[in-house]
Structure formats: structure tokens, C-alpha cells
């Protein structure tokens, strides 16, 4: 358990740091990927809904603290996306890249709809093809990298829980 908390903390810390500094340099078409979201998706797919929800909440909170206008928006969104993916992960094929595309799409569109569209800051179509779609594709590519790292951690956690279950 301790190892798990430590591993997750380090992962989230490093990802948030990367996301807030050097990610600006790998923009494609003026769109940057969201590593935090990719991390939530991968964790929720691999580890189920409880860990997905908790990690979603913490990652969202980090996003809010680093560069949010209000505290809690991304935490709420991350919490539910983690719960959603974690709850349906048994029916999904884990290596499928399209999962990341689809859920990035949902996450960003929900955020855009409630935070910008309803306040009259833009129309419905423009951000769809100019921001959300490139970001979803970009995110899914990076989620493969995160997946490769997380699958190793996943097996370590599994191993740890199996040894601790000995009677």
C-alpha cells in the first residue's frame, strides 16, 4: 500500500511538472496534449474504478491548483471520468488506443460545454475540429507511452497484493 501511494504520488508530481513546463514545446497545430488526462485514462483502465476515481480526483485537483481559474472544476471532471472508465473497463480491450481518443473527447467537450459554451464564449463546432480532435489524437499517442510505464507498475502492484494476501 505504501509503495502504491508513493509510486502514484511521484507519477502525478512528475506528470504535472512536465505538463506545466515543457509540454509547451511539443505543441502540434497549436494544441498540446493533456498528460494528466492520459494518466487518468490509463490508471482507470488498468486498475479499476476505485483507483481510477481517486487518481482522477487528485490529478484534477493538481490541474486546478497549478493553472485553474476555480478550484474543483477539473477535480470533479477527473473524478467522474475515472469512475466512468473504471466501471466499464472489464468490457474494454485494454490495448485499444481508441479508448483514449474517445474519453479525451468526452472530457474536453464536457469541460468546453459547461465552462465556455454556456457562457457564450464560442460556438459548438469550431473547438471540436480545431482543439478537441487534435488533442484527443495526440493524447492517445502519448497514452501509449504512459501505458508502457504503468503496465510495469501494474504488475508490481499485483505482485505486492498477491504476496500480502498469504495466510
Amino acid at each position: 500500500m505504501k509503495i502504491k501511494v508513493l509510486a502514484y504520488s511521484i507519477c502525478i508530481f512528475v506528470i504535472t511538472l512536465l505538463q506545466s513546463t515543457i509540454i509547451d514545446y511539443i505543441k502540434i497545430m497549436n494544441v498540446k496534449p493533456n498528460l494528466l488526462l492520459a494518466f487518468i485514462v490509463v490508471v482507470a483502465i488498468l486498475r479499476g474504478n476505485v483507483e481510477g476515481t481517486v487518481i482522477g480526483f487528485i490529478c484534477g485537483l493538481c490541474h486546478d491548483v497549478i493553472s485553474g481559474k476555480m478550484i474543483g472544476v477539473f477535480a470533479l471532471l477527473g473524478l467522474y471520468i475515472g469512475l466512468l472508465i473504471g466501471s466499464v473497463n472489464k468490457r474494454l480491450y485494454r490495448e485499444n488506443v481508441l479508448i483514449a481518443v474517445f474519453f479525451t473527447f468526452v472530457y474536453e467537450y464536457v469541460f468546453y460545454f459547461f465552462n465556455l459554451f454556456l457562457r457564450g464564449k464560442g460556438d459548438l463546432i469550431f473547438p471540436l475540429k480545431n482543439v478537441i480532435l487534435p488533442e484527443a489524437v495526440y493524447n492517445s499517442v502519448l497514452s501509449i507511452l504512459i501505458f508502457i510505464i504503468m503496465i510495469k507498475l501494474h504488475y508490481t502492484f499485483e505482485e505486492a497484493s498477491r504476496t500480502s494476501r498469504k495466510y
Partner: protein, 283 residues
Amino acid sequence: MLRLFRNKFFLLALLTILLLVLIGVSSRADSPVNTVGNSLSIPWAPFQKVASFLENKIGGIFVYFEDMKELKRENDELRAKLDEMEKETRDLNRLREENRILRETLNLKDQFSDYISIGGNIIAKDVGNWFNIFTIDAGTKDGVAIDSPVITNKGLVGSIYQTGPLSSKVISIIDVDSAVSALVNNYIVIVRGDINLKDQGLLRMDRIPVELDLKVGDTVETSGVGGIFPKGILIGKVIEIREGDTDLNRYAVVEPAVDFQRLREVFVLVDKTKNTETGNGEK
């Protein structure tokens, strides 16, 4: 009661409600919740500082190895320009002295004399794609207060949105939530960020009076109306005028004088005369 807390659905509902309340409370930029939230980002600050320092260094190396011939040509050009500038500086000095004397005789107040400037480095950019908020390494410890204007030597950058003890968040003028009252040819207009133009780093000018004859290339500067920005800071220049179906809904595209992609250091102007109790209560 304890069993209730073990119920996952109850916990989820509780957390959701708590977060909704938190969003509501923190939606006012100067609420104390935001100060607490910003304090949570302190552990990242030193690492972000190191990262942005390395960014500068590595970026500098790439520039260093760029074409030497180009540099030489540019050097000659700059030397010629420098001679010209020196001549101009002499003229300007004379004019400045004259201006000072005339101002003194007219008793005009200098707008900028009420402000002290605090330097800050940008240590973190926006995490998402929608907004344009960045973090600088100057906070309430250095005297930064909410709503202080942020500038560079080229022009207006934005204003302080939230403050923390060691860092503060700056909302730039190209952010969708930002609006600045501006002056073009002595007419007051509104310059705001736009979601469609943000990616190109451009601004949108609204509420252009019908009688204003706007031309491409007109310079836009702050009007001083609204109380956040002092008068006369350069914002940018008009690069395109888009006509709507009537005169009332035409708008213009403004290119900011500041290049937001290459922004590294900024200055925060803090008003000495303003009472800081509207900002954080620590002062």
C-alpha cells in the same frame, strides 16, 4: 453513521457536493480559498523554476548555432541602426527635459509615478488548451496584489488573477475571460480575447463606434477606464477589420505588441497608493 461513510455511493455524492460548493466559493478570484489552493502549488515551484531555467538555456544553445552569416549581416545592420538611434536619443533627451519642465508648469500628474514595478519570471504555462493563464515567481511576499497590471518593455501582457505566497497567476489579455478598455484614435473600444483567435495569439476589438474611421495599422493602447490598467500602455495594432452585416457588429483583429509564445520575463506594476485590502488580507 460510520456505516454510511463506508458506502461508496454516499462518499461519491458527498465529494461531488463538496466540489460543487468549492467551485462556487472559489469562483470569486479574491476569495481566500484560492490563496489556500495556490499555496498547494508551492512544492512544484522550485522544480518549475529549474525547468524554465533549463528551457532558457537549451533554447539559447539552439539560437547560438544558427547561421553565423545571418548573425554577421544582422550585426552590421544593427550597428548602422545604433548610430541612428544615438542621434535620436540625444533629441529625445532634450525633448524629455522639455516635457518635464512643461509638465511641471502645467501640474500634470505622471500616471506611472504611482507604480512600482516588480520583476518576475514565467515558471509555468497553462496546463490545458482553453485558457491562457501562466504562473510567475513573484507573490504576495514580494508585494504583488490582485488585479495589478503585468507588462513587458514591449507592451501589455495581462493582469494578476490570483496570488499565492511565492507565485501568482497572470491572466493574459488573449485569454477568453479577459477584456481591456482600449483607446484607438481617441475613441474607447473594448479589446478582448477570443476562443477562435487565441491560438494565433490575436485579440478581438469590439464595440467600435460607428463614427470611428478605423484603419489597418492603427495602434491600440489602454484607456485607463476601468481602474485596473493605467492609461497609455501599448496593446498592439489593428491588422484586420471584419465587417458584419451592420455597422454595429463589425469587429477588428488586433495583434498584440507582446509575443506570447516567447514570453519569459514580465514586470508587475503595483499601485503604491491603492489600499491592498482588496487583495489578500496578509498585508
